[in-house]
């Protein structure tokens, strides 16, 4: 076990989170801005596996997220571009400051605490056009659609500390690209594959600018998904993996170009 310090986060039971979220989606960010807490009577913690985060540290986390939100207009309505930039910056801050490991992050209740108790106003501000409680309540490890869980997981998967800019993939890929690749569960459970596929995509999108990015990523993800039933990418080294993902995009681009040239 590494000697790095990791925090155990409060966990809000799902049934309470759901009830809380149903009330939160009827309020505005402005109404919620003073209704956050660092504690709740129903919270639990994992018994072992790290140190419990303190109230002070939770307040610091909230302050860090709120600083970014203010930069993009909080508590006023966020535009699409502001939301996208907020997501990138927030993902990096969450991943760098939460001291959370995947074992702890895989518990939905951790994300429910963040969404429903610590930062409900920021969730409401970021998703002011939606009344879907999933933005507040953790589902599927928080990875899908949770306001903060999906950002932490993206940063976890995309980060390579050996790169000069460890989070560069978050800047190079847009929301659609990231949704395509994170919602293909067989790709988003293999961090090295995730990164390699994203790097190959960024290169392919540049060299095939004539092809719609969305089509390129969607079709390549499907092709990769099929390959995963035949190959074990975890056993490949970085170079072998990159050769594989580059090849996937080369073949995808070729197929898309052929489809354009030979309309049905």
């Amino acid at each position: 076990m590494s000697s790095e310090l990791y925090y155990l986060y409060p966990r809000l039971p799902q049934h309470i989170a759901q009830q809380t979220a149903e009330a939160l989606v009827t309020r505005t960010a402005d109404e919620l801005k003073d209704l956050w807490e660092t504690s709740h009577g129903a919270l639990t913690y994992a018994p072992t596996g790290g140190n419990r985060i303190t109230d002070e540290q939770l307040k610091l986390l909230r302050a860090a997220v709120l600083t970014i939100a203010h930069r993009y207009g909080y508590p006023d309505t966020s535009g699409k571009n502001a939301a996208r930039t907020f997501d990138v910056e927030c993902a990096i801050v969450l991943h760098e400051t939460m001291r959370l490991h995947p074992s702890e992050a895989s518990h939905n209740e951790v994300w429910s605490f963040l969404g429903c108790i610590l930062l409900p106003d920021v969730v409401r501000w970021r998703f002011d056009d939606s009344t879907d409680t999933i933005r507040f309540v953790g589902r599927e490890r928080g990875m899908r659609r949770h306001a903060f869980g999906r950002l932490w997981w993206r940063a976890y998967l995309a980060c390579n500390p050996r790169w000069k800019e460890p989070y560069i993939l978050l800047h190079r890929l847009n929301e659609d690209d990231l949704v395509q690749v994170t919602e293909r569960s067989s790709i988003a459970v293999r961090p090295a594959l995730f990164r390699s596929l994203c790097v190959s995509f960024a290169m392919a999108a540049k060299s095939h600018a004539e092809l719609p990015r969305r089509d390129l990523m969607r079709e390549a993800s499907k092709r990769m998904y099929r390959l995963l039933s035949l190959t074990v990418v975890e056993a490949l080294n970085e170079g072998e993996l990159r050769t594989l993902t580059d090849d996937v995009f080369a073949k995808t681009a070729e197929a898309l170009m052929n489809a354009v040239e030979t309309p049905s």
Binding site: V189, R190, A235, E240
Partner: protein
């Protein structure tokens, strides 16, 4: 992911790669790897060793590979809680390698795991060398053969309970007690992870250390606590008329459902009435429960 029934290339017979032992490395010794790691938590890395028999000649013959084709035997893992996949040690070989036993190891970071850990050994095609046969894989990393999975339940009963280490002299609990399970046997609809707590007395540093810093040498204390919790919970629910009337009324995640599952697991084939009868003979009930729960089993 959809499982591939037939692969578009030649594959070896399944007995060309056979796992002979799964083992776990604990400090300087190895122990057989069972199907559960009750003392595990995310702070505990898992050191795995698989002893594998490989029939090299048979593999090359079955797959029509030339002697310079490169293959890889690799230990792989995946965890159902985090969904993450990873690989451990690998051995690359060509026909020149002799058939026989080889060991694969993996040091798996506990922070990447939750719920269960599943281990596999897979034989992969890496490069064809001078092989010209049409039915060889086209892709490096293609799976030629995989062994049956070995699944391990992580996070035993002890780790699932919220535990707090506190000074009992500041509470209404007996000041010299080692631990106290706070729950209400009359309200079995309580969420297991919400309202049930195990308090450990910080005035007993050995016990506090045993539950907060998982080490092999303190396993005995944890096992004693585990047995006591099971006895307390089972005896408690069997005094509750609602539970006896209909134990299936409790929804998943409640204390009633958890203890119902515990009784059915440990007393498979017994009626509730017969388990209740057993609790009237505490010495027999305790000994039987020790056996069923395999208390201290991993110290043997």
């Amino acid at each position: 992911m959809k499982r591939v029934q037939r692969r578009p290339y030649l594959t070896p017979l399944s007995d060309r790669v056979v796992i002979e032992h799964w083992e776990q490395q604990i400090d300087d010794r190895t122990a057989p790897l069972g199907d559960r790691l009750p003392g595990w938590d995310a702070g505990t890395d898992i050191h795995i060793r698989a002893e594998v028999f490989v029939n090299v000649e048979g593999i090359y013959q079955d797959c029509r590979l030339e002697r310079d084709a490169l293959l890889r035997l690799v230990l792989l893992w995946e965890s159902s809680g985090t969904k993450l996949h990873g690989s451990g040690g690998a051995v690359d070989f060509t026909y020149k390698a002799a058939s026989g036993r080889t060991a694969l190891t993996a040091q798996i970071d506990g922070k990447l795991l939750a719920d269960t850990l599943t281990l596999f050994v897979k034989l992969l095609f890496i490069s064809p060398g001078t092989t010209q046969h049409q039915l060889v894989p086209k892709l490096s990393g293609s799976i030629l053969l995989e062994t049956p999975p070995h699944k391990i339940q992580l996070e035993g009963d002890g780790a699932r309970f919220p535990i707090e280490v506190i000074d009992f002299t500041t509470t209404s609990f007996p000041h010299q007690a080692g631990w106290y399970l706070a729950w209400d046997p009359d309200d079995l609809e309580q969420p297991l992870l919400g309202d049930v707590r195990l308090y450990v007395n910080s005035r007993h540093p050995q016990i506090a250390k045993a539950v907060s810093d998982i080490q092999p040498e303190t396993a005995g204390i944890r096992e004693a606590v585990r047995l006591d919790l099971a006895q307390t919970l089972i005896r408690g629910v069997l005094l509750n008329p609602s539970f006896l009337e209909n134990p299936d009324r409790y929804t998943p995640g409640t204390i009633g459902a958890a203890v119902r599952a515990m009784i059915r697991l440990y007393f498979d084939g017994y009626t509730l009435e017969s388990v209740q009868q057993l609790t009237r003979h505490p010495h027999e009930f305790s000994a039987l429960l020790q056996e069923k729960m395999k208390i201290f089993a991993y110290e043997q």
